[in-house]
Structures are given as C-alpha cells and as structure tokens.
C-alpha cells in the first residue's frame, strides 16, 4: 500500500504537471459555462488550491476519499479522466455519473472516489465508514475526507473526528482552507482560527501547510499518511486562497481587488515553476511543453463534452435503486393505470 516516492526533482515536475492540468481543466470548465454548455452554473473552481496534489500524491491505489463541492482538482490529482469529468459537468451520459451528478456529485468507485458532496461536511463521515471497513476487512487502505474551511463550522466534522480517534481508524481529514465559505471570509466565521489546534484537541495528529507550496503540503502529508495507515488519524489544513468567486456567477463584491491580488500572488503553480527553474530541475521549454500539452488535453476534453450526447429520458428512472429491484414508476404509467385500465367499462 505504500506510495512509491520518486526522486525530488521528478516529483516536483510531476506535481507541476498535475497542477497545470488541474488549472487548465478548471479554465475549460469556465469556458463550458460561458458557452452555455454546462449543466447549470453550480460550478466551483479550485484554482489556487492545486497544492492539494501534495496530499493526493501521498495516497495509494486502493485508498478512498470524498470531496466537497469544489473537488475537481482533488479528483484529477487522484487520476480522473478529464474527458469523463467534463462530460459529467456537462450532464452527459458518458460522464462519470451518467449525467446525474454533475460537478458537485462526481464519483468513481474504481479510483476510490466515494463522492463529491454538495452538503457542507456531508461526505466527511463516509471516510470514517471507509476507515472502519479497512480496519475490519484488512488491506491497509486509508480514507481521506477533503473539505473546505466552511465545513470547520459543521458539527458532523467533530463527531467524526472523535470517532476516528476513538476507534483508531486509518483516516485523514483535509481542510483546504481557501479563506472563504461562499462570501464569508474565515475570520468572520471562525472564532478561533487555529484549525489544527481544534483537531489536536480531539486527539488527532494535525498540521498546517502552506497552500502556495506543493512541496510543503507533500511533506506534511507524508507523515500524516504513514501514521494514518497505522491507525492514528490525522488532520491537515492546506492554507490556500480561492482565486475566483464562489461559483461562476459570483463577482466577489465582498472582497477588494487589492486582497485578490495579494491572494493570487500566493500561487502554488507559479511557485513550483519558479522553483523548478531556479533549481535547474527543468528548462523553460520543457515547462512550456507541459503547459501546452495540458491545454491541448483539456481543450479536447471540452470539445468532447460538448459533442457528447445527452442522456435518454428513460434513464432518469435508473439508478434510484439497484438493477433487478423494483424501480420508481413513471408518472405516465401511473396515470394510464388510473384513467385507462382503472375505470369500469
């Protein structure tokens, strides 16, 4: 189950590539919306939060995770296919969830993604359950809950942190603190802003890492993951900045351009690029090629999603329950039973 740690220069370059792919993907999600091709406008971009790659890298195949509504980046970092992701965000049949979940409810059992959740904190207890499965069934897998700073105000987080410690489960709670729950900055929602201290109070290993530095996140994550595999649950705060509004319609009237400029200067992607160049770990041309390749890949995902067919209407009744068990009855059938067969001749 142990993740193989590549040499540092390869690791940073790989992380740069993944962070670039995430940013390019999110930019295409914005385009999808502007073209009127997204399923709704409930699209929450994770630009500025790409350093989460540092924790995703420390996880292994077989580990599971849940995310929040701003989870595109986490899913890509765990190996998602951008074509199927974009198709899902466009509400298409060939998307990860057959066009039924969309941006906020994307999942993939094969990659251990137990689901993105649009209820703040809603997916957190599911990793405790996954941790229980791992404990009882063996195999050494960990489970990671990714959520935002908004979930730091949800009671279920503390209920589940308590259970994880009580039952010594292989679980990590990862708060991607982008400083905003919708329009409310964290200093207006948290009475005490030392989030790792909250976790420590429950008995978890806890750390905070600079979200502008993917290597710092990776380093903090490595120790937490190792301990979690041994049954000591952990908490990681990634201190980041949400570069854009809450969702696509949000023009961020609650914060100043100066604050945004300052926040966007804490850019994990730009920092990784600068470090690669300064350390002689990569050439400009190589990084430019990576950038261009990510653009091409995500352009293709966007075009594919737009061209993909919409789901057929009868599929709406599928997947409420498992195949082979009684399914919901379409209204037309119900009405016919009343107004045709249901009357005396």
């Amino acid at each position: 189950m142990t993740a193989i740690t590549p040499p540092a220069n390869t690791a940073l370059l790989a992380r740069y590539r993944m962070m670039r792919r995430i940013r390019s993907f999110e930019e295409r999600v914005g385009e999808l919306f502007l073209k009127g091709q997204s399923a709704g406008s409930m699209l929450h971009l994770s630009i500025g939060e790409e350093a989460v790659v540092g924790l995703a890298d420390a996880m292994a195949l077989g580990d599971s995770f849940t995310t929040h509504h701003r989870g595109h980046g986490v899913f890509l970092a765990r190996g998602a296919d951008p074509k199927r992701m974009m198709a899902e965000i466009a509400g298409k049949e060939e998307g990860y969830c057959r066009g039924k979940g969309g941006s906020m409810h994307i999942a993939d059992r094969a990659l251990g993604h137990l689901g993105a959740n649009a209820i703040v904190g809603g997916g957190i207890p599911h990793v405790v359950g996954a941790g229980l499965s791992s404990r009882n069934r063996g195999g050494g897998a960990i489970a990671v809950a990714f959520f935002g700073d908004g979930a730091m105000s949800q009671g279920i987080l503390y209920e589940t942190m308590n259970m994880a410690v009580l039952w010594r489960l292989p679980v990590i709670f990862c708060c991607i603190n982008n400083q905003y729950g919708m329009g409310t900055r964290v200093d207006r929602s948290a009475g005490h802003r030392d989030f790792p201290a909250r976790a420590r109070a429950f008995g978890l290993n806890a750390a905070r890492a600079d979200g502008a530095d993917v290597e710092a996140v990776a380093e903090a994550a490595q120790g937490l993951v190792t301990d979690a595999r041994g049954g000591a649950p952990g908490f990681l705060e990634i201190d980041a900045y949400r570069f854009y509004g809450h969702a696509r319609m949000d023009k961020s009237p609650y914060r100043t351009p100066e604050e945004e400029a300052e926040g966007r200067s804490r850019d994990p992607l730009a920092n990784a690029r600068a470090r690669l160049l300064a350390g002689g770990l990569a050439e400009v041309e190589e990084l430019d090629r990576i950038d261009a390749a990510a653009g091409v890949e995500m352009d293709a995902a966007l075009a594919h999603a737009i061209a993909a067919p919409a789901p057929g209407l009868p599929t709406m009744f599928e997947d409420v329950f498992a195949p082979g068990t009684p399914a919901p009855r379409p209204q037309a059938e119900r009405l016919a039973a009343i107004l045709s067969e249901g009357r005396r001749a």
Partner: protein, 332 residues
C-alpha cells in the same frame, strides 16, 4: 414452527445474519455493553466482539454517515438510532446521502445498509420519543421502508433487508417488543413488498401496518360480532409496495379505511388513500377514509396519549359508520 417475541425475532435475525456474513456489523448507541435500549442486541457483543458490535458515541449524524461509508466499501452495516425521533438529527445523512448516493453517482456506488429505529406510542415517552416518522422516509426516493407488525415478519423482513443492495429503513414499534407470535425461521409470511391479507372479509377493507395491524384485527373481531366482515391487510413494506392486493380487495368491498399511528396530515395513510381513490374510483361506495393520529405532538399523559391515536374501539366505530352510515354515539 415455534413461538417467539418480536424482540427475540429481531435479535435472532441479527445473529443469523452476522453468522452468515462476516461483513455484517452493528453500530449505534448502547448496542453493545448495554444490549440495546430495548434489549434487542443483548449479548451480541459477547458473541461477535466489539469490532462488529460497535458502541457509538451520541452522534446520530455520524453514526448514520459512518454506516454509509462502511456500506460503500464492503461492510454491511446495521446502524441503529435508538428512537426514530432522533432521525431529525441524522436526516441529512439519511435523505441526502444514503438515499441519493446510488443515483447521484450514476449507479456506481450503492449503500447496502439497514437503519434500525423504533417508533410509536404506548410508553408515555412524550413528544420527542413517541413519533411515527415513516412519511419522511417514504417521501425520499432511494430508501426502502419496512415496518413489520408480526413476529415472523420481524425476522424475515430484517433478514431480507440485509440482502438488499440499497438502504433499508427498518422501523420497529416500541409497543411490539413483547408481542408473542408464531415464528418459523424457515418460512416467511410472504414476499418482500407484498401486502398480506391477515383476515379475509367482504364488507370493508382495513389497511394498516406496524402496531395498528393488531388494533385493526381486534376491531375486525368486534365488527364481526355485529355482522360486518372486515378484510384486514398488513402493508409490511412501504417501499417497495405492490398495490395489487389493496386494489383487489377494495374493488370487492367498495369501502376502505387506512389506519396509521402517525399524525394524519401528510401521512403514509394519506398517500395510500390517494392511490386507492385514484385506482378504485368507479368501485367506491364511500370515500377512502384515513384514520390516524391527531395532528398534534404526542402528549405525555397516558390518557391524552391513548386518546390521540387510533384504538381498536375507534377503528370498530369508524368501520361500522362507514358500512352502515350510522354515526357512533361520540360523533352524534
């Protein structure tokens, strides 16, 4: 064929399921050392160990949420909320998570769990420990919903629930745990999802479930003393539910009453009555009646509590009224 109590039948179903499948685990408040608030899980922690009979802190949302995650990843959890009233604490996990995961995720991730709860009146437990909240569950696509009335159903429906690929809400009745009845672990009363005629009759169809079945059967006996033969049907499962037996019965009798212990407005009885009114319109001699709890919180006084929900006497009187059109004394 032997005799057992409703409590023993549920306990035996859990034991048999846990012996048959190591993935079955119990999680809830007081399910282990205490043995369950109503004694259903007594001794199970000794039999199966604390890793499979898991005493949880008082954290209802996390209990249900943990069971969901466990169900998604290969366990078959039986989560328990001590009272159905506590579902209010856990409703996001029940209605937004357990119920919708399979659908939102395009069929990839099912939640094969059972959520045991108990509800109903009869112990003067007052407004927050006596409710019948099955309508909340029925109103949520993605949940199966079972409310056994008999000892044999308590066993077999729970065993079946533990083979279902989707979340099953299994609501017991606190007033039935000491009920004695026929128990045959080899022979179910009937199929999953199929309402059963518990007493045949020609004049009137009385539809009930959970504890109200027994009140309805008692009422049918006194109605028979007065020459009215009521057919009594036990719903057993509320989702899935085959309407066929209900429609067949009502098209013969022309008169029906749906009995529930829950507050009447927005109740399961309302839903059943609406369906039967639609499907049997041309066969009806009288409107399909709902007979339920008053639209009030459950009061603690035993007299008020008893008076707020249907009884055998009330079902009898209303049944007689429906058939004869002669109002009972109390309505005159």
């Amino acid at each position: 064929m032997s005799e057992a109590t409703y409590r023993e039948a549920i306990r035996q179903a859990l034991i048999d399921a846990m012996q048959a499948d190591p993935a079955v685990v119990l999680i809830g408040e007081e399910v282990g050392l205490y043995g369950g608030a109503y004694g259903v899980t007594r001794g199970l922690i000794e039999m199966f160990g604390a890793e499979r009979v898991i005493d949880a802190p008082i954290s209802e949302p996390a209990i249900v949420g943990t069971a969901i995650g466990a169900a998604m990843t290969g366990l078959r959890p039986v989560a328990e909320l001590m009272y159905v009233d506590f579902a209010g604490m856990a409703m996001d996990q029940i209605a937004n998570q357990a119920a919708k995961s399979r659908y939102m995720f395009g069929g990839q991730i099912g939640v094969p769990m059972v959520l045991r709860m108990q509800g109903g009146t009869g112990r003067s437990a007052a407004a927050q420990h006596s409710q019948s909240l099955e309508a909340w569950m029925l109103h949520t696509p993605g949940l199966r919903l079972v409310m056994p009335a008999t000892v044999n159903d308590a066993y077999h429906l729970l065993r079946y629930a533990l083979t279902e690929p989707d979340p099953v809400i299994f609501i017991e009745h606190k007033g039935l745990y000491t009920l004695k009845g026929a128990f045959d672990p080899a022979r179910p009363d009937g199929d999953w999802g199929l309402p059963l005629v518990r007493r045949a009759g020609r004049d009137l169809t009385i539809i009930a479930y959970s504890r109200m079945l027994h009140e309805a059967l008692a009422a049918a006996e006194t109605l028979a003393d007065g020459g009215i033969e009521a057919e009594v049907i036990d719903l057993r499962c509320l989702n899935p539910m085959d309407e066929g037996p209900l429609v067949g019965s009502l098209r013969r009798t022309g008169r029906a009453m749906v009995v529930t212990e829950a507050v009447t407005t927005g109740s399961v009885a309302s839903e059943i009555a609406a369906r039967l009114s639609e499907l049997c319109f041309d066969w009806l001699e009288e409107p399909v009646l709902r007979l339920g709890g008053e639209d009030i919180p459950i009061p603690v006084s035993p007299a008020l509590e008893r008076g707020s929900i249907p009884s055998a006497a009330l079902i009898h009187d209303v049944g007689r009224w429906l058939v004869t059109r002669e109002a009972p004394e109390w309505a005159a």
